[in-house]
Amino acid sequence: MLLKKRGYFFVLDAVLGLIVLVTGVVLITSSYINAPQPVQVELLSDDLLNFLSNTKIKDLNNPYAGIGGELWKQGEITDAENSLLQQAGEFYATNKPDTAEKFIQNVSKDIIPSQFRYEVWMNDIILYPKTPTAEHIKSKDGTGLLLTSKKITFGIVNKTTSNLWGPYNAEVFIWEK
């Protein structure tokens, strides 16, 4: 009788121990799965800013913003040596926010995966999107991870006079939808 009771006791003890162990492993594993992945978003924000600051107008194959494109023909872009960030800054400096917004949208549309949202700011003024939608604002406010990259930018506004604009603080925000 005593031996039988001992058997139940050890079986029950082993089952309880197993439950505790499994629960512990499940909790630990699930906490790993839920941890946010900051690296990709951070790389994306750096990538977008580096793309804008390292790519020159002359290197861009874009029917809107490249050499011979719409803005070039309209005389809005005159210096093919400008980087995309400098060009956006020049539009901001010359008070052309609509052109700046469309320009950024055109050059960056294929750079960022669709599950992310992003903003481009110049000197604490939002250039893209110029007027954020309610959905955009809600998404930004509700995101668990919003990352930013910053750079200084300035350039020559008029080649004839060599007048300079800036330096401005260019900033990119990226988050997951």
Binding site: G24, T160, P167, N169
Partner: protein, 328 residues
């Protein structure tokens, strides 16, 4: 006795279970690991972004500032010569002073030229602006010391400037110390030739514009156009001075960069002078007492009366005997 043994075994197993669980918790606590990772990522990202800034400072920011201020300094020096009517004794020191302080002989150059060109646009002004912007944007302290600025030419149609800077960038995670030599190139085209301004007391201005005629394509018609448009030409093995030498009235040859234009007799008084009307020969009076080598270019006298050239240039411009007559 038997009960006592069992109780002891229970405590032993419980102790082992607690020890194993504690080890599990310590080893696999996610919070601690992510926190370390986050710290490392944050430091890495910060170092990377400041490193990009240091790189941009060397390769982009100062190159852009140098290019813009070089153009402004050269333009200011031309206006200065126009205002004072005199040549500059030392172009390098004058250029350096204008670039760094916006002054010439310690007087603000804008006050002499009556043009607002260098005001708030010196290298020193822009160094301060970059420093402030870096502090606001990246929270780093940048110290920039400009040690040397020079101007020179290596090609006939460009001006090069060179800048040597020592800079330090300090952040809460690291510090960068560097010495950099930066060069920038601007085009001469469109700038006024100071040699004309000084020699004619502002009466005759000529802007630098490159002639499109190839060296073996010259003839009387092309020479007429060249004279009419006031264009400049660069000959292989030139005897002419460079653009920068025109600031100091140094009318010797520049092997890399000598350029010349033709003086329009209709723009000077008197129009008829016993000189070769090639600019650097005209005002240095090289052929004033050497009429044997001087020719009236009669083929152009219908439009440019009294225009003359020395024999070397008649050959260079491929002017034939029917269009040139000896002056004596």
């Amino acid at each position: 006795m038997g009960k006592m043994r069992l109780k002891n075994k229970g405590i032993f197993f419980t102790f082992i279970a607690i020890t194993i669980m504690t080890l599990f918790v310590i080893v696999f606590t996610p919070q601690a690991e992510i926190s370390v990772q986050k710290d490392m990522q944050a430091t890495g990202a910060r170092i990377s972004s400041i490193d990009d800034y240091v790189d941009d400072l060397e390769t982009r920011y100062f190159e852009t500032v140098l290019r813009a201020t070089t153009y402004k300094a050269i333009l200011s020096l031309i206006y200065y010569m126009n205002s004072t009517g005199s040549f500059i004794p030392d172009i390098d020191s004058a250029f350096s002073e204008v670039m760094l302080k916006g002054t010439i002989n310690n007087v603000p150059i804008d006050s002499i030229t009556n043009k607002k060109i260098m005001d708030n646009n010196t290298l020193t002004n822009w160094s301060s602006r970059i420093t402030e912007a870096a502090k606001d944007t990246l929270n780093v302290n940048t110290t920039i010391k400009i040690t040397n600025v020079t101007v020179f030419q290596t090609k006939p149609w460009n001006i090069d400037s060179s800048l040597t800077i020592n800079f330090t960038v300090q952040s809460n995670v690291a510090e960068w110390r560097k010495t950099s030599a930066i060069t920038a190139t601007i085009s001469l085209e469109g700038l006024h030739d100071p040699y004309y301004l000084v020699n004619t007391n502002k009466a005759y201005t000529n802007r630098i514009k490159k002639s499109s005629v190839e060296f073996n394509q010259w003839n009387i018609a092309k020479t007429r156009e060249h004279l009419r448009n006031g264009t400049y030409v660069y000959w292989q093995s030139p005897e002419a001075p460079s653009f920068l030498m025109r600031f100091t009235n140094t009318m010797t040859n520049s092997s890399c960069c000598g350029i010349e234009s033709l003086v329009n007799p209709n723009m000077i008084s008197p129009s008829d002078q016993r000189e070769s009307y090639v600019d650097y020969l005209f005002w240095t009076h090289k052929f004033q007492n050497n009429c044997a080598q001087l020719y009236n270019i009669t083929g152009l006298w219908d439009e440019f009366k009294y225009f003359k050239m020395d024999i070397n240039h008649i050959v260079k411009y491929n002017i034939t005997a029917q269009d040139a007559v000896k002056t004596c």
